[in-house]
Amino acid sequence: MRYFWNFNIVFAQINLLLDGLLLGFLLALASLMIGMALGLFMALAAISKHPLLRGIARFYVTLLRNTPLLVLIFIAYFGLPDLHIRLGKSESFIFALSLYAGAYMTEVFRAGLEAIPTGILEAGQAIGLTPLQIFWNIQLPIMFKNVLPSLGNYLISLFKDTSLAASITIPELTYNAKKINTLTFRVFEVWLITAALYVIACYLMAFILRRIERRFAIQ
């Protein structure tokens, strides 16, 4: 049995794949941003003195981390309209991915906040800073430096998760690859190139993120 490789037929459509790649990246970035905002609030709830707030944070993290992402995507896409919340495809996907990312960000930020030695916060108190000033000027910047490596990893991970958007026909990389596959029937060529594009994109992101990390490192 012989397989006749023909990559040219796929390369002719490379723009479609690259457009999909960019869309996937934007979906991941938007979800990470919203997820970070959500995660920050939930992390503060998780370390607060208030048992109710801690409970809410724990409930959210447990619920979201133990639900498969695809199920979340279907709930957002097929379920929300029944509640008369009408979102576009991409919006409902971002909604699902943000909620999912937020649960992981909660844990990342909580750990980043807890890693700050109490003495440093006491030094802030000792010069007369209010709790809010300590949060903005000391806790938040140190936490971001602590968690920068994790944030990069989650961005890459979320980027790969955007392939699930194909399930609700969002024209990102995986969906467009499937489309080319249907048109050309060059199965291996399409999916190998798609895989290669994911690998290259992720590798590039990791490379850039490492450089950013090094710039921000506290040493």
């Binding site: 030695p117 440093i120 030094a123």
Partner: protein
């Protein structure tokens, strides 16, 4: 009798049922340097942290410049001041920690100017000018743009001293300021503290450096087992050694 700058009366502190100290009376007058010595666990550090309101206390009162800090009486009930007031009361004291506790994400200049900008509300340029002036005073005029991680322990502690004194506190509190330092770096920090003392700063110093305490102090307090066991001039404490516990404690130090 002159009114003391710091007046502590019948101060008591418990962690749950564990007593740290009780019945502590202490006065520090303006311009005075008072050292607190004593074994680990005798309550010295906790006492200092109470004065800076980093710890709660369950009995007694602390008066700074004549005003009660931390707690006040309301309808004959003891109430803690709200956090905003506490933050302002902390400005009366400056604290230098054993572990320096510099803000790791800021330069030396950032560490010293943060309080001037955010608490004293000085414009950035003015705050930084003031901060560099203090860094020069502690001999670090050339390290203003260094991060804590680029400084030696002794340099970090001198930045911490500049950070505390830049806020112009009435009294400086030192919590074992040289205990975390390599031996060869102790001298530079003690010299800075001596210089501040010579310039008339009011200071309360918890220390294990007996020779330094002897040289710098107007008054030495010996804490033992949650009480002030002896108090006196350096000569009385270090040379006359009136009590057995004090003799025993001081005999563990060679100098």
């Amino acid at each position: 009798m002159e009114d003391s700058l710091l007046r502590i009366r019948r101060l008591g502190k418990w962690f749950g049922s564990l007593k740290v100290f009780e019945g502590v009376d202490l006065d520090v007058n303006a311009g005075e340097v008072v050292s607190i010595i004593g074994a680990s666990g005798s309550g010295k550090t906790t006492l200092l942290r109470c004065i800076n309101l980093l710890e709660t206390f369950q009995a007694g009162s602390i008066l700074l410049d004549g005003n009660p800090v931390g707690y006040h009486e309301e309808n004959s009930k003891r109430k803690r001041f709200p956090e905003r007031i506490i933050a302002r009361q902390r400005l009366l004291t400056g604290m230098v920690f054993q572990q320096f506790n510099l803000f790791p994400h800021m330069t030396a200049l950032g560490n010293v100017s943060l309080g001037l900008r955010k608490v004293k509300k000085l414009p950035r340029a003015e705050a930084e000018k003031e901060a560099s002036r203090w860094l020069e005073r502690v001999g670090l005029g050339d390290r203003t743009h260094s991060r804590p991680s680029q400084l030696s322990g002794g340099q970090q502690q001198r930045v911490a001293i500049a950070r505390a004194i830049a806020m112009n506190p009435k009294i400086l509190l030192f919590d074992e300021p040289t205990s975390a330092l390599d031996p060869e770096l102790v001298g530079e920090v003690l010299n800075v503290i001596k210089q501040l003392a010579a310039d008339g700063a009011t200071m309360l110093i918890v220390t294990h450096e007996m020779r330094f305490a002897y040289e710098v102090s107007d008054k030495v307090v010996f804490m033992d087992n949650g009480k002030i066991a002896s108090m006196g001039t350096p000569t009385e404490i270090f040379e006359e050694r009136k009590s057995d516990r004090l003799k025993e404690f001081l005999s563990t130090f060679n100098n």
